[in-house]
């Protein structure tokens, strides 16, 4: 029976010439014709199948069940428009001061229906809060470590060495029970990110210690419906490869609940790639093309009229586009494996009059819609 197990892959069968020759003879002997082909997609989704197809997306390529966002304490849909402007005040110099508190906490989060991940978080959520400010603001971030491991916050941007949040600079790693105040001016404007830079770096990042950090240009950007999407993934069995891919943590969440937008309105996505273990991620938009601002540090697009962009680990950018037609339009990485492992969603494009109903269907309220348009203006205190 050793031959039974040694033939674990079809490649091996083909490698053995004699075995390959026996393919035909063997199957003929038992009348197992090899002319038939596998079932197509249509057959797979036949009425006979016990599981209903998803209401949007890829037929039976779905996760069974739903995630309890209440228990998690965060909802990927709400995260799309959940800007954290901090506590704003004006310094004697006239500069705007924004004060934030970030607490490192351990938390088991539900990343797919019924699948729990022992995450390390900022403020109990993955990704952490989307910090938003305007170019030139003074930022004062109080970091409190309530876990049993040392952590830091490393901000992308321009700042003094002791504010870099890496071992050996300033206070270095903040020990369990410790605290530190990171303070610096927000520059340059762009779509940035922050993450823990304690060692081992890979583990501290993929366990969930990261978030988007958006610095708006002084003059703002044109009005738009704005969303933040943090591309992430989870290695649930700690084998150095991800099992679940998503934007804003929960796989297929926006396939289950398409994001409501209005036809003809400018949409702006702050896209951050904080993938661990895979070198690149990408974003592909269906039935549309967009302008892309690499790292968001320019007011002119760095790529025009493209429908797919690629981001390596830690890369970010801003996408701008409008929809010409109503309907459901997918977005996903053009890395098919990630798509099928959860990083897939869609926009539900409706006429303005149908928008309130679409909001309701997605389980969001007027406040969510208001926040999505408040991006640039919302922080001006």
């Amino acid at each position: 029976m050793s031959w039974l197990r040694s033939f674990l892959s079809r490649r091996d069968v083909l490698r053995v010439g004699a075995g390959g020759a026996a393919v035909l003879a063997g199957s003929a002997a038992l009348g197992q014709g090899r002319t038939a082909h596998g079932a197509g997609h249509a057959e797979a989704a036949s009425p006979g199948s016990a599981v209903p197809a998803a209401h949007a997306g890829h037929g039976n390529n779905l996760m069974v069940g739903t995630v309890n966002h209440k228990r998690n304490g965060f909802d990927p849909m709400a995260m799309l428009t959940d800007w954290d402007w901090g506590k704003a005040s004006i310094l004697p110099s006239g500069q705007t001061l924004r004060e934030y508190t970030m607490i490192a906490q351990n938390k088991d989060i539900e990343i797919a229906p019924g699948v729990f991940f022992p995450a390390w978080t900022y403020n109990g959520r993955v990704p952490g809060p989307t910090l938003r400010c305007t170019e030139g603001d003074r930022l004062r971030v109080t970091f409190i470590n309530q876990t049993a491991h040392p952590h830091t916050i490393h901000f992308h941007g321009v700042h003094a060495a002791e504010m870099d949040g890496v071992p050996g600079a300033g206070p270095g790693e903040i020990q369990p029970g410790g605290r530190f105040v990171y303070e610096f001016d927000a520059e340059p404007f762009g779509c940035h990110l922050y993450h823990c830079h304690a060692t081992s770096l890979k583990r501290h990042i993929h366990k969930g210690m990261y978030g988007a950090f958006i610095v708006d240009p002084k003059g703002g950007r044109p009005p738009a419906q704005e969303f933040v999407m943090v591309q992430n993934a989870f290695d649930t069995n700690f084998d150095g490869a991800n099992e679940i891919y998503a934007v804003n943590t929960v796989g297929f969440e926006f396939a289950r609940r398409p994001i409501p937008v209005r036809r003809g309105e400018l949409i702006r996505i702050y896209l951050v790639n904080i993938l661990e273990f895979d070198l690149i991620n990408s974003f592909h938009l269906h039935a549309n093309f967009f302008n892309y601002y690499d790292t968001g540090t320019t007011l002119e697009p760095t790529s025009r009229i493209v429908d797919t962009i690629t981001q390596a680990q830690g890369q970010r950018g801003i996408l701008e586009f409008k929809y010409k037609f109503t309907g459901n339009f997918m977005f996903h990485p053009h890395i098919s494996e990630f798509t099928e492992l959860g990083w897939m969603g869609s926009f539900q494009v409706v006429e303005p009059e149908a928008y309130p109903a679409a909001l309701k269907a997605a389980g969001v309220d007027d406040q969510w819609a208001r926040r999505s348009r408040q991006g640039i203006a919302g922080g001006q205190s």
Partner: protein, 394 residues
């Protein structure tokens, strides 16, 4: 302790003494359950373990996976992946799988004929259990036609070569006593080869069993137990009076071995590895032809009736047919392991008996037990099996 006074009292105190350790054991267990043996703080994270048994393709676009929870705690499988894609599924029974519990997952997946697929079960804690479909093809459904075809395969592999081997009988009758002893030593050689091969096959099935079956030690223990029972039975008869009986016991041992071969062939077809089919059938037929020689060797000085040859052939070769049916339609790794382990014991017992026959014959010939003749016969027997096995090993 009170001294026994009357017979009735004796009985009471006897049973009382037997029960005392049990009562104390109960107390110790209760203490351990209540306190965790004082080691609760040392307990690690929960351990999830699933044994994936059969993966079948009952119809186009459907994958069926049977699992047994052989870990220490309940396991829940909320998500299923096929070929690195999350996929819809239903579980029967749904919900958590208790320790030693079973579940069957039905996955509506458009698998592709003749290609390989990978199924992964993702648990609540994120553990992944994977199973491979080496070559996808419809799992054979029991039907009259396939039943007959499988039976035919078993016939080719089991009965036909044994009968062919028996055709050496007239030739063997003309051999001298010395040459005949060589043939008996050769029989020992091929039986030893079969014992080793059957043991290794049994261990391979055992390794795939859920952990709680403890397959590895079980194979050895079942083989030893079988050997013991057969030796105990054999001690009551005198071998030289019943050469035909010895032939029957050789046939039985070989039959159990051939059952294992049938199981493997049937399972291969069921797993879609029919690619190997004809090649294996040819190889096994060649490999097994010496078995017939060994079976009739003890009776060359007798005048067995034709019907007895028929019985011997059926006992030695027939189980291959049965094995092919079992392997193809109702593969059960537990039964396969047990059958093969029994086979090991049976073959070793026959080695013992034929060995004694060789010892008696060499003594009668005035030759040493381990001489060039017996050693040569033994070596040729092993070598025949070894080299013909080239056709069935990859």
């Amino acid at each position: 302790m009170s001294a026994p006074a009357a017979p009735a009292g004796r009985w009471a105190s006897l049973w009382g003494l037997a029960v005392v350790p049990l009562l104390l054991l109960g107390a110790v267990l209760a203490y351990l359950v209540a306190t965790g043996g004082g080691l609760k703080t040392l307990q690690g994270p929960p351990v999830e373990q699933l044994n994936i048994g059969r993966v079948t393709l009952p119809e186009r676009g459907v994958i069926q996976v049977q699992v047994v929870n052989d870990g220490p705690q309940t396991v829940t499988v909320p998500q299923v992946m096929v070929d690195d894609a999350f996929w819809s599924f239903t579980a029967d029974p749904p919900g958590p799988i208790p320790r030693l519990g079973r579940a069957t997952f039905m996955i509506p997946y458009p698998w592709v004929e003749e290609e390989a697929h990978k199924v992964a079960l993702l648990t609540t804690l994120g553990t992944v259990f994977e199973a491979e479909i080496p070559v996808a093809t419809l799992t054979p459904q029991p039907g009259r036609d396939l039943f007959l075809r499988f039976g035919l395969v078993g016939l080719y592999v089991g009965v036909v070569p044994v009968v062919l081997g028996m055709l050496w009988f007239p030739w063997m009758r003309r051999l001298s006593a010395g040459a005949m002893n060589f043939i008996l030593a050769l029989t020992v050689g091929l039986l030893v080869y079969l014992a080793v091969g059957t043991y290794l096959d049994a261990q391979e099935f055992a390794a795939a069993l859920p952990a709680f079956w403890q397959g590895t030690p079980a194979v050895l223990l079942i083989a030893l137990l079988t050997l013991g029972v057969l030796l105990a039975l054999g001690s009551k008869r005198r071998t030289e009076e019943a050469p035909l009986g010895l032939s029957y016991r050789i046939a039985t041992g070989i039959g159990l071995h051939n059952l294992g071969e049938g199981l493997a062939i049937g399972a291969a077809f069921a797993l879609g590895e029919a690619a190997l089919g004809t090649f294996l059938i040819l190889g096994f037929t060649l490999h097994n032809i010496t078995e017939g020689l060994g079976i009739v060797a003890p009776v060359v000085r007798q005048q067995p009736k034709f019907v007895q040859f028929a019985w011997l052939a059926l006992i030695a070769g027939g189980p291959a047919i049965l094995g092919t049916w079992l392997g193809g339609f109702a593969f059960n790794p537990v039964l396969a392991t047990v059958f093969l382990a029994v086979g090991v014991g049976a073959i070793v017992q026959v080695v013992w008996e034929v060995g004694r026959l060789v010892a008696r014959n060499t003594a009668a010939l005035g030759a040493p037990l381990v001489g060039w003749s017996t050693l040569g016969g033994f070596t040729v027997g092993v070598a025949l099996m070894y080299f013909t096995a080239f056709f069935v090993k990859f």
